[in-house]
């Protein structure tokens, strides 16, 4: 697991990363940062997502693709190299996008949708197990704990990007540059610390 790290190569010309979560968690900023990292690494990159109603607490998904040359901004079913889920349930909602034995990174946070109470559909309790039916590479991240240790729970998206960075071949300075470009100027240092903490925290857990 420690050695699993995706790089753009002749044999693996495109890398697909799907990020999912709940409106307000910072999924869109995180995927913006990954696209910028790829661009700084001199790669082509695209991402796609849908705005609008999702802002009202709905499920949010952002698809990132990078490589030598990218055409479609959408990931095909069964071809995502990585799913980064900001919330547990949102990891399995898009699990069919994962390629066989891809990587699933799950933030250990449960945000219960209203339908659990109003329609009595239970919140699945065996999310990690379900993911393991598709891949052996499942990593749980205690994102909120790490973000709180850094000093601000709102840096969760940088923490999760830090965890993600362990599995994607990019120079660290590309990440740092992209974070600085995309987060509010006053929070750059904090987000960089959160990224580092996520990068380390993940290794100690994985």
């Amino acid at each position: 697991m420690q050695n699993l790290k995706y790089a753009v190569t002749q044999k693996h010309p495109v890398i697909n990363v799907l990020m999912s979560g709940v409106g307000g968690q910072g999924v869109l900023v995180a995927s913006d940062i990954l696209v910028l990292v790829a661009m700084h690494a001199e790669l082509d990159a695209k991402k796609s997502e849908v705005h609008g109603m999702a802002q009202r607490g709905g499920s949010v998904v952002s698809q990132v693709r990078y490589g030598k040359k990218i055409f479609s901004p959408l990931i095909e079913m069964g071809t995502a190299d990585v799913i980064l889920a900001f919330e547990k349930l949102e990891a399995i909602r898009y699990l069919d996008f994962l390629k066989p034995n891809g990587i699933v990174l799950i933030n250990e946070q449960q945000i219960t949708p209203l339908s659990v109470f109003s329609a009595n559909i239970p919140y699945p309790q065996n999310i990690e197990e379900l993911c393991r039916k598709k891949t052996e590479h499942v990593v749980l991240i205690h994102g909120i704990k790490i973000a709180e240790a850094v000093g601000n729970p709102r840096t969760i998206n940088s923490v999760l990007l830090g965890a993600l960075s362990n599995f994607l071949e990019f120079d660290e300075h590309h990440w740092m540059k992209a974070i600085a470009e995309r987060v509010p100027p006053k929070t750059i240092e904090l987000n960089r610390q959160a990224f580092e903490a996520g990068r380390l925290g993940n290794e100690s857990i994985g």
Binding site: S48, E49, R56, G58, S72, L74, E90
Partner: protein, 581 residues
């Protein structure tokens, strides 16, 4: 040259800036909203929100007539509203260039229909450009203004959600030094009296022929030769999917897709063994190519419903079958649809209507969420402003049956957009319709854009506010009352009184959007589990902050609750409590 990552909408804004654009107007609508928001960041450009798309287009067209390169942006259904000026502007032509952006929404991510607005270009007889990524969104915006001036025509820039909301790399250029033109009085061109309009129609038909010649040779229509066994004609986002699925095929990519470059299409068709059109939604290109007498495939394989993607195209051409059984087949995944925010003022008014068992004609905004569980109180959602006409029409058809029980509900922004004329109809035709205007003083659903009731312009400068109450009275509505929708009993009492009136009434639910106002009423509320009898009343208000604990008793999520007090008011056993101090 500097490169950056832009969404399609950001790229359109950038293109307009680089092209020397001077004036832009829009009404917000997903997926087009961010175009004007981004144009608004350029100090050199006057950018403003209009109350609706017709006004946006008319003001932009006026600015173009006045000599400024102009832009009007809207979602696909917005072009229906703006269609009236569009068709006649086509006859008139332009002074400075104008580009009209139509952002279509295949798959209806945030829309009430998925009409294909390419037909507008054809029926209004104007040129259309279809970008396939952000770089093209920028280039085509610039090209649209050039074509507009060269051919004396408005130009349609037709995008789809996947272009508007995807991000890709864009190369940036400087702003061109384009001088604004002089306004010129020109009776034959600008006064579409029949005598002039008849001559202008001749001009329009000749212009289409000239544009077709241009389309045959222009850089935006290109052939990418590959193997000649398969030739694909495509445009817009579909091009990107085609490149994924058929990397070796020959492709004719149409950037300027109306009028069709017929000569180029024949050349291409003559050299490939099999010809296929891959396009989203309607067979817009396919039917025209078939009408040229060319054998072509397309919608016999591809769906005309919803977005395309590489998976759908691969399956349609037998290149892959649906992936095997999902590992999730046996696991019900609770859906997570959008919900009214914790503390939203709409919750109180709809709860009150539910208590009174009203029949509600609905409209378009965040409040349309009242149509879905658990509120389920809104019976219709059709188009902007329809709540008012529908309420009047149902009243006239149903006679006594729904008397005192029928109401139309509309937001402030939607009312200014298309509700005012409906209210005039109620007065003029002596209806007794009751209308509730949810005045949260912002266009909330599309992401909090300013509007005539917010007191700020698009560029956030202070401006005049429409006096909603005075406006309704001036139209002839005698009963206009305001309610505070956070006070449930008062709201119910007011609604009851107004519903009983033997004349029309407007009830204004007067409360700013709490997200916009960043309002927090109090510390989070809490539940006394001893008192909770699990009656479920609090769950019926549909607040995301109201959860259940392991025993099924109500629990309030402290991270989400902003203390709006609505759940406390509906809790009969008084288990839900406000924190002291």
């Amino acid at each position: 040259m500097e490169k950056t990552i832009l969404s399609g909408n950001e790229a359109i804004a950038r293109g307009f800036y680089e092209a020397g654009g001077l004036f832009a107007s829009a009404y917000p609508g997903t997926p087009s909203t961010e175009i004007l928001e981004n144009i608004g960041q350029y100090a050199e450009i006057q950018a403003q929100w209009a109350p609706n798309e017709k006004v946006a287009l008319e003001v932009a067209a006026g600015a173009a007539l006045g000599g400024a390169r102009s832009l009007a942006a809207m979602k696909h259904v917005g072009l229906n509203v703006a269609a009236d000026p569009l068709f006649s502007m086509s006859y008139q032509g332009v002074n400075a260039g104008i580009v009209i952006v139509s952002a279509d929404d295949p798959s209806m991510h945030s829309s009430q229909n998925e009409q294909d607005n390419r037909w507008y270009a054809r029926s209004a007889k104007i040129p259309m450009l279809e970008p396939s990524d952000s770089q093209e969104a920028k280039q085509f915006t610039i090209a649209a203004l050039e074509i507009s001036e060269q051919f004396d025509t408005p130009v349609l820039l037709r995008t789809t959600t996947r272009v508007n909301h995807s991000k890709s790399i864009v190369l940036l250029n400087e702003r061109a030094a384009i001088e604004s033109k002089e306004y010129k009085k020109d009776f034959a061109k600008n006064v579409l009296l029949p005598t002039n309009a008849r001559k202008k129609h001749v001009f329009v038909e000749q212009r289409l022929k000239n544009l077709e010649e241009f389309a045959n040779d222009c850089q935006w229509n290109r052939i990418e030769w590959g193997e000649k066994s398969l030739g694909i004609i495509t445009s817009g986002i579909s091009y990107q999917y085609v490149k994924e699925v058929f990397p070796h095929a020959s492709i004719l990519k149409l950037g300027l897709s109306h009028p069709l470059p017929k000569k180029l299409i024949r050349e291409f068709a003559d050299q490939v063994e099999k010809l296929v059109v891959i396009e989203e939604l309607d067979p817009f290109l396919e039917e025209q190519i078939a009408a040229m007498g060319i054998l072509v495939e397309g919608k016999n394989r591809l769906p005309n419903i919803g977005e395309l993607n590489s998976d759908i195209i691969s399956e349609a051409f037998g290149l892959k079958s649906s992936a095997g059984a999902s590992v999730l087949n046996d696991v019900p995944i609770p859906p997570r649809p959008p919900v009214l925010c914790p503390g939203c003022s709409h919750r109180g008014i709809f709860y009150a209507m539910k208590r009174l068992k009203l029949t509600v004609m609905g409209d378009i905004g965040c409040y349309t969420l009242a149509a879905i569980p658990p509120l389920e109180i809104m019976d219709t959602c059709i188009c902007m402003g329809a709540s008012i006409g529908y309420a009047e029409g149902v009243e006239k058809a149903s006679g006594e049956k729904l008397k005192g029980k029928l109401i139309g509900v509309i937001g402030d922004s939607t009312f200014y957009h298309s509700g005012i004329t409906g209210l005039i109809d109620i007065v003029y035709n002596q209806a007794k319709t009751k209308i509730c205007i949810l005045d949260n003083q912002i266009t909330a659903m599309t992401g909090h854009q300013e509007n005539p009731s917010s007191g700020l312009t698009l560029k956030k400068a202070p401006t005049n506010k429409v006096d909603l109450e005075a406006l309704c009275r001036a139209m002839g509505i005698k009963r206009v009352v305001k309610v505070d929708p956070y006070k449930i009993n008062e709201t119910i009492a007011t609604l009851k009184a107004e519903m009983a009136a033997d004349e029309p009434s407007v009830i204004i639910a007067d409360a700013p959007c709490i997200i916009r106002a960043r309002k927090v009423f109090s510390e989070p509320y809490f539940v006394d589990p001893e008192k909770c009898i699990m009656c479920g009343m609090c769950h019926k208000v549909g607040c995301p902050a109201i959860e259940k604990d392991e025993n099924g008793k109500t629990k309030i999520n402290e991270l989400l609750c902003i203390g709006c007090d609505i759940c406390r008011q509906v809790c009969k056993p008084q288990a839900i409590q406000k924190p002291v101090g």
